[in-house]
């Protein structure tokens, strides 16, 4: 038996002994048991924390990271075996967080070793939850136009400004922030700063969206003092780091949107939804137009899922795939289309805002339809994404 096979056996035995049975059911989208980590997050099921802690103790939430960064230092082959066994056992991810998906990759690439040892382990263990301080009221698609000022006062920066669309700012412990250290240079005057949300001078206000409650917040920073050792990279390197982080963000949004390839909020396939609202004739969806629309949607879901797989395969073999630049806006449009189709299927019941006699599913269809409109705006609008593809992939001129 090879060493790798022995490792597989060990992993399998450990999972059998340590995976909480109460987590057997797969994690649902927007579940209150999403393992965000952090000091403020509370889970409906306490076993979420148990699983997070057990995996963290082994360094297996980030198996390929070095032990000093909170990982287990596994080789890619061992990490693959671990992932395969976790998947085979139907284990939920121990940690899902912006820290893990967005910040950690750029810390690995741009931070000092001292910063890595300080900031990475709490991300790996799910102890610190991060939020993203990018957009500002005056800096959306033109992100580099941001104005939040970080003034160099010797041993610290004094930060003043406002961030918006900061998801879960009210739940986060720290924020990674784009700040302006030099007002003279647009792109070259931006720096990447890590700020403790408990710092004096930070105020968070939740934003109500067209869909009702939302994780989005405004963050106001007034005379916030930030130690200089919290600057990642050099002053003025923030834009480069920001862009790299956005790539990771878009990749994780694409992955997240794969969950949108499926059915209704209650997990019902679209065809079943169409049957129950449009009726059946000869065992089929009675409305020929809806039948066609559901078929069209499902076929496109398949095309997108296959393309995402191809992106992964190509990235594995040939480095970052040019295709990855299209997946975010593609997934966004498809998710929006799905929600439009669901509202069309439910018709007036799909506009159910709240309460009896509407089912939870009907209210969710309506709310998520509204929420889905943000898919092609957040993390870079589809228009901006399309500009990038036109220039960088197709080579079209400015």
């Amino acid at each position: 038996m090879s060493e790798l096979d022995r490792f597989r056996d060990d992993v399998r035995a450990w999972i059998a002994a340590n995976y909480p049975p109460s987590l057997r059911e797969p994690l649902r989208v927007d579940s209150p048991d999403t393992p965000w980590g952090g000091r403020k997050t509370r889970y409906a099921n306490p076993d979420v924390q148990v699983w997070m802690d057990r995996m963290a103790a082994k360094g297996w939430s980030t198996p390929e990271w070095q032990p000093e960064h909170g990982g287990a230092g596994l080789t890619p082959e061992h990490a693959r075996v671990l992932r395969e066994e976790l998947a085979a056992a139907g284990c939920r991810p121990p940690v899902i967080s912006f820290g893990l998906m967005m910040l950690a990759p750029v810390l690995h690439e741009f931070a000092s070793e001292e910063q890595r040892r300080h900031f990475l382990p709490p991300i790996a263990r799910g102890e610190i939850r991060w939020c993203q301080g990018y957009s500002e009221p005056g800096a959306g698609s033109d992100l580099a136009g941001l104005k939040t000022r970080a003034e160099d006062l010797g041993d610290h920066y004094l930060v003043n400004g406002q961030k918006i669309w900061t998801s879960y700012a009210d739940q986060a412990d720290w924020i990674f922030c784009l700040v302006r250290t030099n007002p003279e240079s647009k792109h070259g005057g931006i720096s990447f700063l890590l700020i403790d949300m408990a710092s004096p001078g930070i105020e968070v206000r939740p934003i109500q969206l067209i869909s009702g409650k939302s994780p989005f917040c405004e963050v106001f920073l007034t005379d916030v003092r930030v130690p200089k050792q919290n600057l990642v990279g050099k002053p003025g390197e923030g834009w480069k780091i920001a862009k790299r982080l956005l790539q990771h963000e878009r990749a994780s949004i694409s992955t997240h949107l794969q969950t949108g390839l499926g059915g209704s909020p209650a997990g019902r396939p679209l065809a079943e939804l169409a049957r129950s609202y449009a009726g059946e004739r000869d065992g089929r969806i009675a409305d020929a137009h809806l039948r066609d629309a559901v078929a069209r949607h499902e076929m496109r879901s398949e095309a997108i899922a296959l393309t995402l797989r191809r992106v992964q395969e190509e990235s594995g073999k040939q480095g970052p795939s040019a295709l990855s630049s299209i997946t975010k806006s593609l997934g966004a449009q498809h998710n929006k289309d799905k929600h439009e189709l669901m509202v069309e299927i439910l018709s007036l019941a799909g506009t159910a805002w709240d309460g009896a006699p509407f089912t939870d599913e009907e209210v969710e269809v309506c709310r998520q339809w509204l929420r889905s409109k943000g898919n092609s705006i957040e993390g870079g609008t589809s228009e901006i994404q399309t500009n990038i593809v036109a220039k960088q992939v197709l080579g079209l001129p400015d």
Binding site: A271, A274, R275, G283, R284, I285, R291, D292, V294, A295, R296, E298, M299, R300, E302, A303, I304, L306, T307, R309, R310, E313, E314, K317, Q318, L323, I326, L330, E383, T386, N387, V389, A390, K391, V393, L394, G395, L396, P397, D398
Partner: protein
């Protein structure tokens, strides 16, 4: 499942791309069209394709093939699609070859497969009877007559039907229109009395013919396989055809897109390349996106033909043809529009891609046909 090409496949693709560019450029199709060529494809090039092994890709080695498989042939067709190359690959190797393979393992079928692998013969599947794809709407009858059969009916839009030496005719030995049962396959020598063939002139200048069968008498050996058992064979044949035709279509769409992209970079108006206009950039990205989606689906479908026992092939074929149809439709329209006035002229090639698009889209099922079929297969 491999969605990304391995080394052998990449080499095959580059060989085929080079062959298409050098041996069968679009100029070749124009020549066939403008000279009113009686054959409708280049026989020398066809022999060269056989020498390259392309005619034997779906045929096992004992019968003279090389068993390279559907994925390999898909790469070849994609490359040929780029230059709108006319060849009997679809009619003879894909449709007829698959029919022979699945319908019968008797000597006449095996012998024909050997000839196909060697590139020695052209066959045509005489199946459709309507302009719209209706695979089961077969009114052509094969009536028992002593030891043999008498065939009557009219077959339409038979690919390479006017040049094929042998016709594979789908006829009804029982059942009514639209009944999948009662269909049978007959092998007919093209010269059999009672067969009259009329070459059609379609917009894409490729081969298509109507075949009239009037009291065509054949002996019982003309029947391929069991009487009435051709339904499942036909379904498989059509699915293989749908996927491989999609490969050709994707190659054509890719070329039309690349040609258009080049034009956007070169064509100057208002003192700048028109490709600098955002309205055009975004539509170019849309085309790029649709082509890449179609490529993923096509690769999955080709892989399913080679690896899958067959269970998921109908669904994959239907997803593939619908997706590629929509893609080629979009790209061919945009290619003409983005070329502006010059795109309307016969002188530039984009119009030829538009013409090929519509013929290929309607062949073996429009996107709407396949969405309805998908719903049927998925039980809704």
């Amino acid at each position: 499942m491999a969605l990304v090409l391995d080394q052998d496949q990449a080499l095959l693709r580059s060989t085929a791309t080079q062959f298409a560019r050098e041996r069968l450029p679009v100029a070749n199709l124009r020549r066939l069209r403008d000279t009113g060529d009686a054959t409708g494809f280049d026989r020398d090039a066809w022999r060269e394709m056989a020498d390259l092994g392309w005619t034997g890709m779906l045929i096992p080695e004992p019968l003279g093939g090389n068993g390279f498989g559907h994925f390999g042939l898909g790469l070849v067709l994609e490359a040929l699609g780029r230059t709108l190359a006319a060849s009997p690959l679809l009619s003879t190797v894909v449709l007829s070859g698959t029919a022979l393979t699945h319908a019968s393992d008797a000597e006449p079928a095996r012998n024909l497969l050997r000839q196909i692998a060697a590139g020695e013969t052209v066959l045509a599947l005489a199946h459709e009877e309507h302009p719209r794809h209706r695979p089961l709407a077969i009114a052509t009858t094969a009536r028992r007559d002593g030891e043999g059969y008498v065939l009557n009916g009219r077959k339409r839009f038979v690919i390479d039907g006017h040049v094929a030496e042998t016709l594979l005719v789908v006829a009804r030995t029982a059942g009514a229109d639209d009944d999948p049962r009662g269909l049978s396959l007959f092998l007919l020598d093209g010269a059999t009395p009672g067969i009259s063939r009329h070459r059609l002139s379609l917009a894409d200048s490729r081969n298509s013919a109507d075949v009239q069968l009037s009291d065509v008498r054949v002996d019982r050996t003309a029947l391929l396989g069991e009487a009435g058992a051709a339904g499942p064979v036909l379904e498989r044949v059509l699915d293989v055809g749908r996927i491989l035709l999609s490969a050709e279509m994707l190659g054509a769409a890719q070329q039309a897109f690349e040609t258009t992209l080049e034009y956007l970079k070169q064509r100057q108006q208002f003192g700048v390349p028109i490709g600098s206009f955002q309205a055009l950039q975004h539509r170019a990205v849309q085309m790029y996106t649709e082509i890449e989606l179609a490529r993923s689906v096509l690769h999955a479908a080709l892989t399913a033909l080679d690896e899958d026992g067959g269970a998921d092939v109908p669904r994959q074929a239907t997803v593939c043809k619908a997706c590629v149809n929509d893609t080629f439709h979009l790209v061919s329209n945009e290619a003409v529009q983005m070329h502006g006035g010059i795109g309307m002229t016969d002188q530039v090639d984009v119009g030829l891609y538009l013409k090929r698009a519509r013929v290929a889209e309607a062949t073996l099922g429009t996107a709407a046909f396949h969405r309805e079929r998908y719903a049927t297969l998925q039980g809704f």
